[in-house]
Symmetry: C2
Subunit: 208 residues, 2 copies
DNA sequence: GAATCTAGATACATAACTGTAGCTAATCTC
DNA sequence: GAGATTAGCTACAGTTATGTATCTAGATTC
């Protein structure tokens, strides 16, 4: 009869999903440091006791939410367009960075308490798609096919794209545009692979 | 006669310095989100009322502390050693990143509340030494002297070094070693300037 | 349909921080 | 030395979050 009981009572998976969503929204809004059980519970419209039955700490809720996040889409390189595939992989990264999970991760990284509680396993799982996989997958693919010397695919080189995107996100707070992504590929990544524009015009025909 | 009055009473500059130091230590320990007037006051060993006389919010204290921070040392490029100067400028950046101010900045960046209160002016001031000046100064210097085509010194290229160092700090949480800094310069920055390790066409296999 | 879970509502004591206020006394200024 | 500042001390009411406990009623299981 009560009009607040219009909504059916949630249980199990459904409830947990709602809580996970709530904590991700919450952390984006207030930051990892100001997360509270109270705030999460309010946003998920569930009593705090429900939270305490499963987690002991707001950070635990957050880490659990991240752990159950869908893995990031992997770039699927073609066979002929290294440049285009690199740009697409960076675009994927930007997309992820602006998703709730992406924002949550960056909130966590500089929070001492969260960082301390973040396990190696979670770090791997969450970062598999962030810490270097976006362009690395693509680069490895083309290195295997001899588009450039595999020896040039060092850890530093594999990180160039992600690093520059991250820096742009931090400095500008806004997603880099297409031209910027293209500039990263043309001016930083490709030169590092010995595929600079001026040196070997034949390698990348008809670019620009 | 009270033995807690051994220390002389602080005023003005001296007191403010102590508070600035306190808030920087505090933010490193608890994060920007968990800063409190109480915590800062305790650490500075001053009553809260002293804080409220000057600031209205813990974040204000933090931003003020950053504003009064000494500016970062500028790299002073020589005339002949681009590579060495680049490495040195990155080393400067690493040093700064591990200083209290550097840590405070990274704590602020992902905290929604702090970020919202951070003025354009402060951002400029604090970031002048972080967001791209470290290597840019050096690069500009050598570009002006014709060591490489000035047109290659694009925003993206000027950011490569700082971006890779930042990424390493985030991923590893530890300062990059000398070899890593050297690798950044050799494998990413110099190639982007067309100064790759002498690339003769034989070394690079043809496409496909 | 009965038994069993478990979400949802509510209450409560505790703790931390907030913002303000009033007083005392050290330090600076003249 | 007198007067003006202002740090330091203490108190207090109000707010928010914590963690636990108790009860109810919706959903699931058999």
């Amino acid at each position: 009869m009560n009009n607040r009981n219009i909504r059916t009572r949630r249980r199990g998976e459904e409830l947990i999903k709602a809580i996970h969503d709530a904590v991700l929204e919450e952390v984006v809004e207030v930051g990892a440091g100001r997360l509270t059980m109270d705030g999460i519970a309010r946003r998920a419209a569930t009593p705090r006791s429900t939270l305490y039955r499963r987690w002991s700490d707001p950070i635990e809720v957050l880490l659990d939410a991240l752990y159950h996040q869908h893995p990031v889409e992997e770039p699927t390189p073609g066979a002929t367009d290294l440049r285009g595939d690199l740009i697409r992989s960076l675009r994927l990264m930007v997309e992820w960075a602006f998703s709730p999970a992406g924002r949550a991760v960056s909130a966590i990284l500089t929070d001492p308490k969260s960082a301390a509680l973040m396990s190696e396993a979670l770090f791997e799982r969450v970062f598999a798609g962030r810490g270097g996989t976006f362009t690395r997958t693509v680069l490895q693919h083309y290195a295997d096919r001899g588009h450039f010397p595999a020896a040039l695919l060092t850890p530093v080189v594999a990180d160039i794209g992600e690093a520059l995107v991250t820096k742009h996100l931090i400095d500008a707070g806004a997603p880099p545009g297409e031209e910027y992504l293209a500039a990263i590929v043309d001016q930083a990544i490709l030169p590092a692979l010995g595929l600079g524009p001026s040196r070997d015009p034949d390698v990348i025909p008809g670019r620009d």
